[in-house]
Symmetry: D2
Subunit: 194 residues, 4 copies
Amino acid sequence: MIYNDALNDIIENVKKTTETITDENVSKMTKIIEEVESIFIMGLGRSGLVAKAFAMRLMHLGLNVYVVGETTTPAITDKDCLIAISGSGETSYIISTTGIAKNIGSKIIAITSYPDSTLAQRSDLVLQLQGRTKIDSEPNYARRQISGLHQSLSPMGTIFEISALIFLDSIIAQMMQDLEQTEKDLKARHTVLE
Amino acid sequence: MIYNDALNDIIENVKKTTETITDENVSKMTKIIEEVESIFIMGLGRSGLVAKAFAMRLMHLGLNVYVVGETTTPAITDKDCLIAISGSGETSYIISTTGIAKNIGSKIIAITSYPDSTLAQRSDLVLQLQGRTKIDSEPNYARRQISGLHQSLSPMGTIFEISALIFLDSIIAQMMQDLEQTEKDLKARHTVLE
Amino acid sequence: MIYNDALNDIIENVKKTTETITDENVSKMTKIIEEVESIFIMGLGRSGLVAKAFAMRLMHLGLNVYVVGETTTPAITDKDCLIAISGSGETSYIISTTGIAKNIGSKIIAITSYPDSTLAQRSDLVLQLQGRTKIDSEPNYARRQISGLHQSLSPMGTIFEISALIFLDSIIAQMMQDLEQTEKDLKARHTVLE
Amino acid sequence: MIYNDALNDIIENVKKTTETITDENVSKMTKIIEEVESIFIMGLGRSGLVAKAFAMRLMHLGLNVYVVGETTTPAITDKDCLIAISGSGETSYIISTTGIAKNIGSKIIAITSYPDSTLAQRSDLVLQLQGRTKIDSEPNYARRQISGLHQSLSPMGTIFEISALIFLDSIIAQMMQDLEQTEKDLKARHTVLE
């Protein structure tokens, strides 16, 4: 069953993809997040959903966090950071938005597959999740076709998105220790209105 | 053209609908909003969009405000208020959510057409926007049919939703004065990331 | 009470603002909407909420309608139209998005205060809601200050946003007649999962 | 570094969690999805983000899919299915919503950790992702405290949510084959307006 191949393929790829993150960069990232006044997070499409999943946990940790585009998100300042999640690092809306934030003096953290992308180049810190993204999917697909594998097992940004989610949830575990927050503390901040 | 009849009909109905709000209730509402720690706002469907439009302006005023269901909305406490917008006052999700908030000890403000509704009865303050809502639309429709008007000029909750938006934007004008906030102050808090 | 002044001021301004829409443009707009395969709608901030309120009613009318940025919105084609709501007609994300849609061959409808704006100039049809928007608010504010009115009664895009909502709800009334849809038909399509 | 422990811990737990899904249930699930007229998807909090990530891919596959609560989601019928994602299977809004859908005659698919939960019991098909969810987190947390592990490495529903995302992306791979859809087909339906 293709289902089982895909499941194994995704887990193996996620393992490899997250290997490119160094301990040093994890420390730099948590340091920025813990030192700024407010954290702004953004992403488009499925990367935007990963951004929101991370934002929710940062709120549970007791930090000031906002998702770009949500109703009550205020103006960003030079005391804040903007975390942008984009596999290609070239999504047009991300580029224009991080440009504005950079001019204001906010710190920019990029989560991307491409350390040479426009997004990465303007960022104070780049977390690289190597691997297949929208940009290189066409040739991969062609190779699969030739080799007899007629379907991609993880279309478009799938591996990047899942890897980003797992990477960010591991960052949360790190920050729970750094900020001396237990699961009980997090649960106390979880919305009760659902 | 039906378009012009509808435009006039909406404006006339909005005028009448907002007449049921007393100065006393306006004062009570702004007092609660200005005294609580955080304001939570909710509504479903188009009433939910009105709720968000109001929440955005409260953020521009510099208040702590959250939309129920958005990503970084934390747990509500007994120092907060929950403003619920519901024409019928019987929307099931609104009823269960305000029930939870009431048990926690949060103040509840209802914006509804029905002062006898379940929502209104459990609220600390009821702002009544009289007029046509989902509940009474069926008989109204029948009457229109009989009288030869084959179409409603403002289907379902239209009048309630527009009236609620205009009412709440007038509350914002009142609070700008109360809190000594100028338009310049509001603009300074407006998101720059778009 | 400033509240009452604001309420009257908003209603009066909305009346004036919607006067700039001609019957001819209403007919052109409903014709485009009724002839395309799918309708895409967008706006940012409070204009985005107005866009969603209109989209919901178009769905109730039985049309194929999508909000740009929502989860299941597909690729736009040259058989579709994109309706963009922007007071200034210069919002950066709106400009880049309508540019893409225009290249694809989609029809563009602009709802804006500025017929000379970048958005208006690239649109197949411009619905102008004259009046105060973000662009001219600074001088207006200054004039109010001089004349002794220390507060704006409708900060930033308030008048534009409310006028757009009422204008679009009047378009819905027109289309109910054009498409022979009764309120009962609309209600049958209203979500039941709330 | 806790970060690395968490990363490994999450990947190991996800592997175990997805083992409870049988090939038979995968086939049943894809069969329902491929046979209904429209697919409705829902979840709250981070489960809601997973629901949206899955909905986006089903749209890319060319299916009619709606997220409960989004702007243009129509009324569900007895020709549709509702997929509900809830770790505990007891989230109040999920219970009331699936109740309404069941009465209408829609097929219900549950993705949950608890086959005895209220959600599971009313579902036509239950996909069980065993493991830690909100319900059992309190005792687990206590055990960790006793054993000297002062922090959970994956607070609250983390493992369930990530497992659900990977499980659902594997379902997409299966359906690409079933429906003879290549990555190129999926990309052609991906939004271009970002």
